[in-house]
Symmetry: C2
Subunit: 340 residues, 2 copies
């Protein structure tokens, strides 16, 4: 891959830090790396390879045509403000927020599933929510030959998905709880230590949360299958890194779980851990720092058309930073990124 200049908005956050870590791990050539963040974080120093990068404040005029790749991993509001500016400079913009995911002019991409959608990009690429990616990655290889009709999914989401402060909040609340005290940190709508909260993101008027609707809408868009039904319940649990998903899926044609396992196993980006009788299945503690989605407990449902499985993914890796890097690599391979 060419050594592109990469500018990260939200550069002091945990996804940005993980992204830099993966660039180092994989020895990806890079040009100038800029980290932009809020006024409060500006001036802090981030170590990357042999460089010390000083975090700069994000301002509307800080970007120019030398920012070949702009990776947005802050808020949706900031993405809506910055992405058009970066696009105007001819940058290749990858947005990790929900701002552009359902925009019909913006591809929503999991490279293993729909890399070809990158071809019609108009400057901005969106990447799925961190719960959608493992779900779609695990089911897409079956859907390719046996159409998905209905998914019922319940999530077990880690605090990392809510950012670095949320991780600290879980730590502080847990220490207090072990000492017999209830000290909600405010990082979640309720105390999360030793609890489970059936709310991720805000509620919509139909009674579902935005997080739950994201799973429905993004799945349909990525798979280009607007008729898929999906019923999600998204729950925050007191784990630090791995998001887990309990998935039930119904397909148009009968499905043999052994065949399904082979199809899922053949999918790049997935590791099967599925020998339950000897205790082999993925748990959130298994996935921290791992790029692959881990899949286990593949079994039949009540009818021959149903399949059940359990998927675990590091929400900061394949749920965020890893997928962004893959989008960039795939776009570079297809000459979709302009050199300044």
């Amino acid at each position: 891959m060419d050594a592109y200049n990469i500018t990260i908005i939200g550069g002091s956050g945990i996804v940005a830090q993980e992204f830099l870590k993966i660039l180092e791990e994989r020895d990806i050539p890079t040009g100038r790396i800029r980290l932009l963040a809020t006024h409060r974080s500006a001036g802090s120093v981030v170590h990357f390879r042999d460089q010390k990068i000083i975090v700069e404040e994000t301002t509307p005029d800080i970007l120019d045509k030398n920012d070949e790749i702009v990776f947005l991993t802050a808020t949706s509001d900031l993405s809506l403000q910055i992405a058009p500016i970066a696009k105007g400079h001819g940058s290749f913009v990858v947005d990790d927020s929900s701002a552009y995911r359902m925009d019909p002019s913006v591809p929503l991409v999991i490279p293993e599933v729909n890399a070809t959608d990158l071809e019609w990009h108009q400057g901005i690429i969106s990447q799925p929510n961190c719960t959608t990616t493992p779900l779609v990655l695990a089911l897409a290889p079956i859907h390719a030959t046996n159409p998905l009709q209905h998914i019922v999914v319940s999530t077990y989401q880690a605090l990392a998905g809510a950012g670095g402060k949320a991780i600290e909040g879980l730590r502080s609340e847990t220490k207090a709880a072990l000492a017999g005290k209830s000290e909600p940190s405010g990082v979640q709508p309720r105390e999360i230590a030793f609890n489970a909260i059936p709310q991720v993101d805000v509620f919509t008027e139909n009674g579902s949360t935005k997080e739950e609707l994201k799973m429905l809408n993004e799945t349909r868009k990525i798979l280009n299958s607007p008729d898929i039904a999906l019923s999600a319940t998204c729950v925050r649990i007191p784990t630090f890194f791995g998001h887990a998903l309990s998935i039930w899926a119904k397909f148009k044609n009968p499905i043999n779980p052994l065949v399904a396992r082979q199809q899922i196993e053949a999918m790049p980006g997935i590791t099967i851990l599925d020998e339950p009788e000897t205790g082999v299945y993925p748990t959130p503690l298994d996935c921290a720092g791992i790029d692959d989605v881990l899949v286990g407990r593949i079994r039949s449902g009540n009818s021959k058309h149903e399949l059940m499985l359990w998927a675990v993914t590091d929400s900061i890796r394949k749920g965020a930073a890893t997928n962004v890097l893959q989008i960039i690599q795939e776009a570079a391979k297809r000459n979709l990124i302009r050199k300044s």
Copy 2:
């Protein structure tokens, strides 16, 4: 209610202790209370009202006709050994293990749902698993007029469901994890602190755990509806007391979520907490020491026949001790318990 002699096998466990606490709270008249346990626990002292009860060792010949009610809350193996002996003495036996649940000669009872099944008891009554009870209690009022066809359920189960040692294991593992150490306590198949384990009870050859099959088989038996399909994924999470369930259900006829809410609300034993837009929904921390099943997030699924909801219950209360007391009270009212 008459003051019956009650003998509890597993008398030093957390369910037995909670049962005694509820007897006190509700000021239930009792005759002689005996607590039987393992050789190791024998000799320990339990305070009940103004008495000090000395725990005795469970032996095959310790029971006699004066044990009017025998409450078994130990292991299935011990239940299989002791229940026939107690039944032989004419005792009213309530078994909290899985030993007799699917025995066609044994009623499996949630009093609010199928108290009439007590009438055909032959000495032994079984009570459902602590995940089945909240599921069936919440769905039974709808099923009464609109038959259940299919349930997909994912559980978020607390450590209390695995006994007092499991609670201590979660505490010790969590302390170690906060200090950066991994010290699995052995109370679960994996480290449970800051983790989620998709295994409760052992695996069967079809890939489901026994816990998951219990939910299917017990639901069918309690509702006397052998055609209900149920796909369960049972997961242990790092909470102490409340079991939570994410439930998707499909009914024969269309269902309006507002009507469903009214039907569920009218069910004794249920409290609705469902104003999500103002943050009102149940979490495990809300249910400790509460007898009712707490239900929230009642909403439509993808079709008019589908309903989704979230239920939380103290696995030691309605999931165990409270339901046993209700069985005893209901049986007493119906003169089904013999006075010695």
